[in-house]
């Protein structure tokens, strides 16, 4: 067991012939991810990643011929909303969108359609999801993981790698690591993933990585207090961020005194979550909570 993706996932990559799409598709294949198709309009009939993946003109064609059941999107921002809708229209139940810089109003509409059609969207502006030893979908480096009992959910990209690396170096392995993305409008939130990890029998403990902006972490804290009986450790980035400034991620901004790191840390601590001052402390906090 694991969540979202695994050895059984039949992945389709939209934008596979682009520079980033091809680079990361190669890394996903090396990890063992089963990429069954790529889509680039106008390049149907060709193949990508040194002939390893057949390319189709449309997602519908790719699904019909390969039975793809998950899509990973590397399409540039102006075209990514359409790519997500195309994947949903072709009946793909899981869409993971790596693209950053998608207008928020586009995401409102796309997310509404995907949710009403029962499609699970991860991202956008996210690093993807990796089930250790099963499949990596997205851009999380494969070699930072080791198998183990900890599930991880994060709003960040490279900060996720930092924490995972610290865990692996300390001998604390992972089940599934999910980056939900740093945009204001994302398809899947902390609570969605906490719910999945809480229900996953292989996951014994959970790591949550948040940052300033919004009140997602506060809500996650509330959910942890009510529903999660597994130990949870957390790190919140942005204690030194000045208010009123957008810290890179479109969603990372302290506005009107709300969304501070301190407020999130306090909410999590009050919910019984162990909160780290540095990513390097996460493994020790997990050990303290009984993780082997």
């Amino acid at each position: 067991m694991s969540i979202l993706v695994g050895a059984a996932t039949r992945l389709l990559v939209q934008g596979i012939t682009g520079r980033e799409g091809e680079f990361h598709s190669r890394a996903m294949l090396e990890y063992g991810t089963n990429i069954v198709a790529g889509v680039t309009p106008g390049k149907g009939g060709q193949s990508a990643v040194d002939g390893q993946v057949p390319v189709f003109d449309t997602v519908a064609d790719a699904v019909a011929q390969t039975g793809a059941d998950a899509a990973c999107i590397f399409v540039p921002a102006p075209f990514a909303p359409d790519a997500m809708l195309e994947a949903a229209d072709a009946g793909i139940p899981l869409v993971i969108c790596i693209t950053e810089g998608i207008p928020a109003l586009d995401m409102l509409r796309v997310q509404h359609v995907l949710r009403s059609e029962g499609v699970r969207l991860i991202g956008p502006n996210c690093p993807g999801a990796t089930t250790v030893g099963g499949a990596k979908v997205g851009i999380i480096p494969g070699d930072i993981h080791r198998p183990g009992p900890v599930g991880l959910v994060s709003r960040s990209g490279t900060l996720t790698y930092e924490v995972v690396q610290a865990m692996t170096d300390a001998g604390v392995g992972q089940t599934t690591c999910v980056g939900i993305g740093g945009d204001p409008i994302v398809g899947t939130n902390f609570i969605d993933v906490l719910e999945m990890l809480n229900a996953d029998p292989e996951t014994e403990a959970i790591v949550l990585i948040g940052e300033i902006g919004g009140d997602e972490e506060e809500r996650a804290a509330d959910y942890c207090a009510r529903e999660v009986r597994k130990p949870v450790a957390a790190f919140i980035a942005g204690r030194t961020a000045p208010p009123g400034r957008r810290m890179g991620h479109a969603g990372a901004i302290i506005s009107g005194g709300a969304g501070t790191a301190e407020s999130k840390r306090q909410a999590l601590q009050a919910a019984g979550v162990r909160v780290a001052d540095s990513p390097s402390q996460i493994p020790a906090l997990l050990r303290e909570a009984g993780v082997r």
Binding site: D106, H112, L159, P184, R219, A241
Partner: protein
């Protein structure tokens, strides 16, 4: 991207929102002429993007054109929260019978454009939210069909608008919504929306914040960016495709990824130092972008050391290492550099760095400590 009051009002006026006629001026003489053209008493308002300009003395009443020039003399050049006032808006002094708040925001929790309305206008909505949350209506709108007439009516009744003003109010709310959607805003607010002495609704002040991610399809709005109010280094960073925010410390930071960049700043602080900036070189950072990041960081004369923290993923470590070594060779000012590169192509990166004799670090905590130590040492 925030728009100045007069720009926001121009956009709203184009969408049928009644806005008092106003003129901008950059000199006292300009303010005098504007006041003369407008006629009667006027208000001279500093055009700055930071809040609290009223308390800072940036909004003043003037009874005559000469008085308008005098008030403009006081306001132009005024420092409001670190921003120097360069432009004032001269606008008729309205007689105010009643003030409302009317805004639209992108509500991330509800995943909807949401109307915020309150009959307590003229104060910050966050203040009302703290002191009297029941006085605020929040109405999320459907993402596909948008603002509907029953929603317009609901807001009008909530505000307790006199019956004779409801029709005009509908046009204002519809105009505000159209302006929000068409300009891809994050926020569009009228505060206050007033009933004038003559019994008419009018937007007395307005603010629009645009979604930076949507500016690519609004070149006409991008052109409204007020460069005079930006740190020149932040303008240069944006042109280079870098996310940069200047801070007051001594340790320059160059990091890939916003979350990790914030974490790096936090750990510098935890190690006893102060970060000089937030800097995210973005995904797929190339040598030229790294070079631009160095120039931007080192323009800040407070910077005594640079901490470079790159965790590979979309960014390739060896490219970054090459970029660091190349860029460093061409820098006019040299400061100690602590470099940590992990992840994709990290071993190639480490070889390149070692060959160039840069300070390397095993972990982020270690890198932060070394950078703080290096910044403390002279030179």
């Amino acid at each position: 991207m925030k728009l100045q009051e007069y720009r926001s009002k121009e956009i709203l006026a184009r969408h049928g929102v009644p806005v008092a006629a106003g003129e901008t001026a950059t000199t006292p003489d300009g303010a005098r002429e504007a006041a003369a053209r407008i006629g009667g008493p006027v208000v001279v308002k500093a055009q700055v993007l930071v809040g609290g300009r009223g308390k800072a003395g940036g909004v003043k009443l003037a009874a005559s054109p000469d008085e308008a020039a005098a008030r403009a003399t006081e306001i132009l050049g005024l420092d409001i929260k670190g921003v120097t006032v360069r432009t004032v808006l001269v606008t008729p002094a309205a007689e105010i019978a009643k003030e409302y708040y009317l805004g639209l925001i992108l509500d991330r929790g509800r995943q909807a454009v949401t109307i915020i309305a309150s009959a307590d206008g003229g104060v910050e909505i966050e203040e009302t939210a703290r002191t009297n949350p029941g006085a605020i209506l929040r109405l999320p709108l459907h993402p596909l069909i948008g603002l509907q007439e029953h929603e317009v009516r609901r807001v009008a009744f909530f505000l307790g608008l006199p019956a004779e003003l409801r029709k005009d109010f509908g046009a204002i709310l519809r105009g505000l919504y159209a302006a929000f959607i068409e300009s891809d805003a994050d926020l569009a607010e009228i505060n206050p929306l007033v009933v004038t002495g003559a019994g008419r609704l009018e937007a007395l002040d307005a603010k629009i914040v645009l979604d930076d991610s949507a500016l690519f399809r609004h070149p006409e709005l991008e052109a409204l960016r007020d460069l005079g109010e930006e740190e020149p280094s932040e303008t240069a960073a944006r042109d280079a495709g870098i996310n940069f925010i200047k801070l007051d410390g001594t340790i320059g930071c160059m990091v890939n990824g916003a979350g990790l960049a914030m974490t790096t700043m936090d750990l510098v602080k935890l190690a006893g130092g102060e970060p000089a900036n937030f800097l995210d070189i973005g995904g797929g950072a190339k040598a030229d972008r790294v070079a631009a990041a160095f120039r931007i960081i080192l323009e800040d004369q407070n910077v005594r050391a640079i901490l470079i923290n790159i965790f590979g993923g979309i960014t390739r470590g060896d490219e970054v290492a090459h970029g660091i070594v190349e860029a460093r060779a061409s820098l006019g000012r040299q400061v100690p550099m602590v470099v940590r590169i992990v992840g994709t192509n990290a071993s190639e990166a480490a070889e390149i760095l070692r060959a160039a004799n840069l300070i390397t670090a095993d972990s982020l905590d270690d890198a932060a400590r070394k950078a703080v130590a290096a910044a403390g040492a002279p030179g």
